[in-house]
Symmetry: C2
Subunit: 158 residues, 2 copies
């Protein structure tokens, strides 16, 4: 898609959206986090069409977010397993879940709760903060060009 080659590409948010920035793609990743592994599990848990699911699973394998795994027993179906890169999306999904809990499902309450499997403790609300845990709001953030800045990014933020 040609839009991907715009200047917006010099941005890690745009880069992330290029890989997972599609309603179904990120829901397939969510399902992988919830434990789905086979095509049938994704299909049933998502209520998605076979065509779209096939396309999104392929795309996620290409992007190295899911890995296609063939069990040795021939009777068993192929499985789609999260790679390290895929598992690293956990903070993205949890921050979306927490935003949705607060701003979308605020009336009915959270559909799903995450907690520490070992101790039962609730999750901390994810926030943007310094290493010293000082919470930063938007107006407390400095935005500066990084080592990978393009000419236009440099011009814009310097």
């Amino acid at each position: 898609m040609s839009r991907k080659r715009f200047d917006t590409h010099n941005c890690s948010i745009a880069g992330t959206l290029e890989l997972v920035g599609d309603w179904w793609t990120l829901l397939v990743v969510r399902e992988a986090f919830f434990g789905s592994r086979t095509f049938t599990q994704f299909l049933q848990n998502l209520g998605i069409s076979r065509n779209i699911l096939t396309d999104r699973l392929e795309k996620l394998v290409e992007a190295d977010i899911l890995e296609k795994h063939y069990p040795k027993a021939q009777s068993q179906r192929a499985q789609y397993i999260l790679t390290h890169k895929g598992k690293a999306l956990l903070p993205v999904l949890v921050s979306m879940m927490q935003w949705g809990d607060q701003w979308v499902n605020e009336a009915g309450g959270a559909p799903v709760k995450l907690s520490d499997l070992q101790t039962g403790e609730h999750l901390r609300t994810m926030q943007v903060e310094t290493e010293n845990l000082k919470k930063l709001d938007l107006d407390q953030l400095a935005i500066t060009p990084g080592p990978g800045a393009s000419t236009s990014t440099l011009k814009r933020f310097e």
Copy 2:
């Protein structure tokens, strides 16, 4: 869109994606975080078509993520300002940026750096953790139905 009425709706990630789960929508939100306010600023910084931008800005105003604001001076253009609900998306955008920095732009380095405006301190990497700052990976998380769980969510996670 009919897909929105599926059972996947009983999920705060799906709810979030319904509002911002589109490449351009989230990039418009990013631009608002980067300081764009007028139609022309969004247009120039995004390299987006007028039609798509008009559509996404309207959608974001409807979703109460941006607020359309008319300056008193008639010479000035309308401005799109982030609401509280919009500003609360900061952790979602920063977690996407950090994932992209690590997994998409790893060779060239981060295009943009965020830091504490006051002290210059770098941001902490966002992570999923308990209130006691115990970092939790996927296999350390318990997923249980919350107060807003539907019948099928209850059945699935109990």
